[in-house]
């Protein structure tokens, strides 16, 4: 098991290498450098060129990359031109709100979706099923920003229940922290729930008609238990994948929500860094997110093993 985890993590190194190379190349290729953003709209091209040259962005790609890479090997991930801090500390700082948000949103999504998905599958073909499916379709067809804006207007401006935007760090108290995160988490959660509901439903539809469900019923188990223990657990791999994916996409998919709700998270950092061509930060964020993904997927893969022994890693 340990070996397996180690192997997974080691196999990451070439991936990270390739990803970093690709990202660097991509950023190198795209027009504009940090100077444009540093100098503002009315800057003249000469100024921009001069600043870019000063920052070393006129050098050839390989030189820049090798430079960066050797620094990374020395543990130096570079420094942001805008944030006035190192990439590592910036990521550490921006990651916290995103993690909070993602976890909160995921919890909301799970609370909403799993029961709905189960209910829809169980009551297949009934009005209830139709309602669940339609609701989840609406959820997935609704652009995220519209949903967010609606929530903001309704709960923030109209009802004054939650702050419209902003972020309170955990150090300001859990209550405050959650109060600020609630609306963005809800809006993200609803979209994810839409997806999860459908995945739960469809995976349960596969398992609900298996023979072992009959066996469970023949034991005299309550329907609830039959579904929760047998159908759900057997359908778990698909649901788990979806949860893993949705959690993963929460980490990258927060760009819109974070910008809208003004939460200083990774999504916002990604967007602003791209807009500013803050290359080291982009690089750092992408690599960090890749790592996160791999970890999330690793956890999901290990969880597969818990739910379905046949999928246990290292079998055979």
């Amino acid at each position: 098991m340990l070996k397996y985890i180690l192997k997974r993590i080691l196999s990451l190194i070439p991936v990270l290498f390739v990803v970093s190379c690709v990202i660097f190349l991509v950023v190198y290729m795209i027009p504009g450098g940090p100077a444009t953003a540093l100098l503002g709209m009315e800057a003249t091209p000469d100024q921009i060129d001069a600043l870019n040259a000063e920052l070393g962005f006129d050098r050839p790609f390989l030189v820049q990359y090798v430079d960066w890479f050797t620094n990374v090997l020395r543990g130096d991930w570079g420094e942001s031109y805008f944030l006035h801090q190192t990439v590592t500390s910036a990521i550490a700082e921006y990651f916290v709100p995103t993690l909070s948000l993602a976890v909160f949103a995921q919890i909301i999504a799970l609370i909403l979706s799993i029961p709905l998905g189960i209910l829809a599958a169980y009551k297949r073909g009934t009005a209830l099923d139709l309602t669940c499916v339609t609701a989840s379709l609406l959820g997935s067809a609704l652009p995220g920003f519209l949903l967010s804006m609606f929530l903001m207007l309704f709960f923030g401006v109209y009802l004054h229940w939650f702050p419209v935007a902003g972020y309170a760090a955990l150090s300001e108290g859990l209550g405050e922290h959650l109060r600020y995160l609630f609306l963005p988490a809800l809006s993200l959660g609803i979209v994810q729930a839409a997806y999860l509901t459908r995945m739960t439903r469809s995976s349960l539809l596969e398992t609900l008609y298996k023979n072992y469900i009959q066996t469970a019923r023949a034991k005299g188990l309550k329907e609830k238990k039959v579904v929760m223990k047998y159908a759900l657990k057997n359908g778990a791999p698909v649901i788990l994948t979806a949860v893993g994916q949705s959690f993963g996409s929460l980490i990258t998919g927060t760009i819109v929500t974070e910008t809208l709700f003004n939460i200083p998270g990774l999504g916002m950092l990604t967007l602003t860094s791209i807009n500013r061509r803050d290359v080291f930060v982009i690089q750092g964020v992408v690599i960090f997110v890749t790592l996160l993904y791999v970890i999330v997927n690793l956890i999901v893969d290990i969880l597969y093993g818990f739910t379905d022994p046949r999928l246990r890693p290292g079998r055979k």
Binding site: V15, V26, M29, I30, G125
Partner: protein, 299 residues
């Protein structure tokens, strides 16, 4: 499954005929499939024919008539440039269906290929899945900007960028479903019967992953339509004045409290389209699933 008449007896022929009517009956007994199909075809037809028969230029501006409510010569009202929203929604359908469709198809096809092979071959699994991990982390926005730099502005940028964004998640879903199916006895049996790996993958495992795939495809379709707007924002998509549902929604953001119809009309179009596609997908799945008869599943 056409049977050559001469090779079978009269009895078989009767059975065959019965089978055909049964198929038809099953089709008709599946309202989801029919509604979805009709809805989708309707949207496609509207997208194709309204622009042909309607002479209004979707980009014609009458700025003084901006943000007119629906009615009064404008079926859906006008947008912030005084363009006819109805015509734009119809023209937008073309772009959105094209982008959504392409992205959904490409990412599902690619993701399925990756997922299925990864599930079946241990070595490939490690390689492909790690690549997916890497791909999934690259922000779509960055990709889009880079693609414009490389390819110039065209809708292919969006399609390419979004396909890259969505493929890994399809791959993972397919992979895990396939992993379960792979363990089924009939896959082993097929091996013994001499099925090539290729055939096992595509004939035996693929049908089993269709159901999560249809769900994901429709999800991606919807998301692609919406994301197209944010990438067009960067210039990666459809050149400027052309309408798409996504960019109509995006630009309604600024004015929607004043002119809600600018959001409702394209929004409803997206939702209707996704809804009918989903119904179609669900219905198709039921239709193809031999265990489902007339909406109920047989144990």
């Amino acid at each position: 499954m056409l049977i050559r008449r001469k090779s079978i007896s009269a009895a078989s022929e009767a059975i065959f005929r019965e089978q055909r009517t049964l198929k038809k009956e099953k089709l008709l007994a599946n309202p989801a499939l029919i509604i979805g199909f009709v809805g989708f075809v309707l949207i496609v037809l509207l997208a194709v024919f309204v622009p042909i028969f309607n002479s209004t230029d979707p980009n014609a501006m009458e700025v003084t008539k901006r943000l007119q409510p629906p009615g009064d010569g404008y079926l859906f009202g006008t947008d912030e440039f005084g363009r006819d929203l109805f015509v734009r929604v119809m023209y937008g359908a073309r772009v959105s269906l094209w982008v959504g469709g392409c992205v959904a198809i490409f990412s599902c096809v690619l993701g399925t290929i990756i997922g299925i092979y990864a599930s079946y071959f241990k070595v490939l699994d490690q390689i492909l899945m790690r690549i997916c991990d890497g791909l999934i982390a690259i922000p779509g926005i960055l990709l889009a900007i880079a693609l414009i730099a490389a390819l110039g502005t065209s809708s292919w940028n969006v399609i390419l960028a979004l396909t890259i964004v969505y493929t890994p998640s399809v791959a993972r879903t397919v992979r895990v479903s396939a992993l379960v199916i792979k363990e089924q006895a009939y896959v082993e049996a097929a091996k013994v019967q001499g099925f090539s790996n290729f055939r096992i993958l595509w004939r035996m495992i693929l049908p089993g992953v269709i159901s999560p795939l249809t769900v994901q495809a429709s999800f991606i379709f919807a998301q692609a339509i919406i994301s197209e707007a944010s990438l067009s924002f960067l210039g990666a998509g459809i050149p400027a004045p052309a309408a798409s549902w996504g960019n109509m929604l995006e630009s309604s953001k600024m004015v929607f409290s004043r002119a809600p119809w600018t959001m409702i009309c394209p929004g409803a179009a997206v939702i209707l389209c996704v809804l009918s596609l989903n119904l179609l997908g669900d219905g198709l799945r039921d239709y193809l699933d031999p265990k489902v008869k007339g909406g109920k599943k047989k144990a």
